[in-house]
């Protein structure tokens, strides 16, 4: 059993079954590229979530003078510096809270102007003294905002509590849907790919059943008969994986960089995660091909 004879058999097989080989390559490439995009969307959504979650804080607005909020009835003159310090301490003592910062009217106005830039008229009508002061509460775990909100709401001098997360929830809901849809499509495609590749290998074995039958009768061993098929599958899988990798890199450059910059998010998917995804899809592609070959051949190439 000389290696170069086997290799030449593999080469002949690949060339003769060129359409087969192309079919496997196309199937692997398409399925793996879409699986890769799915995984990348998944990673991107994860990144965006943590990016935003990190930024998100609970805003505890303090009562101004003559504030119409019912909770401000107790402090008609607004919150004094001492009261504010007390609040700050109380909030900081909560187990979920990481940090409490004070935002005075000037800072609030700055932030307001930044976020309202698109609507320049408002920036003209609102003045710093119109805006309420607030305490910005950073959480240890962004998911545990409810307890903090509940606690803060009962405190004296607090007009209202706003969790920015609520405003992002819709957006996140959509992202989650996108993530699941992408993964579902990718999964269906991988299943389809397994089916198609298994089928292709089976056809290939079926086409050559006469040949393999002759090989057996001439005394070729099982390994010898199966090896070319499995190696053909592996090579086709590898080529398909490379094509998929190219498609993924293109997707990364044109799709992801474009979209995320449109979202004004600097939580770009790094090249390292892309490399990870490519490696993963490549391995999956080759493993699928080899497994499909083996399982199929078990049935077709009995002694």
């Amino acid at each position: 059993m000389r290696a170069n004879f086997i290799l030449s058999e593999v080469w002949i097989g690949l060339r003769r079954n060129l359409t087969m080989t192309i079919a496997v390559i196309v199937t692997v490439a398409v399925a793996m590229a879409l699986l890769g995009v799915g995984l990348m969307i998944n990673a991107q959504v994860g990144l965006m979530k943590t990016f935003w979650s990190d930024k998100v804080e609970v805003s505890v607005y303090l009562c101004k003078k003559d504030s119409p909020f019912p909770t401000c009835k107790a402090t008609p003159k607004g919150v004094s510096a001492a009261e504010r310090g007390q609040l700050q301490q109380q909030l900081g003592a909560l187990p979920q809270v990481a940090q409490v910062l004070f935002e005075d009217q000037a800072m609030a106005f700055e932030n307001f102007k930044k976020t309202q830039s698109a609507n320049s008229i408002l920036a003209q009508v609102v003045e710093a003294k119109d805006l309420p002061e607030s305490l910005r509460v950073k959480l240890k775990d962004p998911e545990q905002y409810q307890a903090v909100i509940d606690a803060a709401k009962g405190m004296k001098g607090v007009s209202t509590v706003i969790d920015q997360r609520a405003q992002l929830e819709n957006f996140f809901g959509m992202l989650e849907k996108l993530r699941y849809a992408a993964l579902a499509v990718a999964l269906i495609l991988v299943l389809a790919a397994i089916l198609l590749i298994g089928n292709t290998v089976r056809l290939s074995a079926f086409n050559r059943r006469r040949e393999t039958g002759i090989m057996r009768l001439v005394g070729a061993s099982n390994l010898y008969i199966q090896l070319p098929f499995v190696m053909e599958g592996m090579i086709a899988g590898l080529i398909g994986g490379v094509v998929a990798a190219i498609m993924l890199i293109v997707a990364k450059v044109f799709l992801f960089e474009g979209t995320t910059s449109a979202f004004a998010v600097n939580s770009q998917l790094g090249w390292d995660s892309v490399a990870e995804v490519i490696t993963l899809t490549m391995v999956i592609g080759v493993v699928i091909c080899v497994l499909a070959s083996f399982v199929t051949l078990r049935r077709y190439l009995r002694v």
């Binding site: 000389r2 004879f5 009768l217 070729a220």
Partner: protein, 229 residues
């Protein structure tokens, strides 16, 4: 060399056995003609020796090995010591004449130098010199049969099975083929040949085993084809 002990073979979904309690002994170096009408079980007999089929009952020993006990893993090794010319040739359709013959040697790992020397010799032996680079479907029926012949004995097997090796060959070429078979037999190879060719059987005067409906009806040491003709 080949021992059939009360062997019965019934193909799946058939009621009539293809071989029916057959017991034969073929010694090393013998030359045996297997004759009998169409469908009498000659090809089945040969297929059983190769372990291409398994008997329903009875024991078969080939080259001292009990086929029933031979693991699947060992079957290729058995087959490498048996050359076989099939009734339907079974050439690899995608390899040319040279490659088809060389294949039997490559499978058993012979060095390339050896292959390059032996294969052309054997091709010449069966009278196909100059057609080494033809594909099987570019050959006439008889030429294909001779390629099958060449492949069967290129690796000097211990046993040579031939299923109607002269069925598609004109009498002149047949005589050539029979001379080759005889020569191979004289080097010590056991030859079992199924045939319908009365003229050949009659002229060779070798052992004749006659089958009919799966049963052995005659086993003659220096026999002729039979009464029917």
């Amino acid at each position: 060399m080949i021992h059939f002990d009360n062997v019965t073979k019934v193909y799946a979904n058939q009621n009539r056995p293809a071989l029916d309690h057959v017991s034969v002994d073929v010694d090393k170096g013998e030359f045996v003609f297997l004759v009998g009408p169409s469908g009498s079980g000659k090809s089945t007999f040969l297929r059983l020796i190769l372990k291409e089929e398994k008997p329903n009952s009875g024991a078969i020993h080939v080259a001292g090995k009990d086929l029933a006990r031979l693991s699947n893993f060992k079957v290729p090794h058995l087959r490498r010591r048996i050359g076989c010319v099939f009734q339907d040739f079974r050439l690899l359709p995608n390899k040319n004449v040279y490659e088809n013959v060389a294949f039997a040697l490559e499978v058993i790992g012979k060095p390339r130098r050896f292959i390059r020397k032996v294969v052309p010799e054997v091709i010449e032996l069966v009278g196909l010199e100059g057609k080494a680079h033809r594909m099987p479907d570019e050959l006439s029926g008889g030429e294909q049969q001779r390629v099958a012949m060449a492949r069967a004995f290129v690796n000097r097997p211990m046993i040579l099975l031939a299923d109607e090796p002269t069925g598609n060959i004109d009498p002149a070429t047949s005589i050539g083929i029979m001379k080759v078979l005889d020569r191979i037999n004289r080097t010590g190879t056991t030859v079992v040949m199924a045939t319908h060719d009365a003229a050949i059987v009659d002229s060779m005067r070798k052992r004749v085993v006659e089958l009919e409906d799966g049963k052995i009806v005659r086993d003659q040491s220096r026999g002729v084809y039979g009464q029917a003709y």
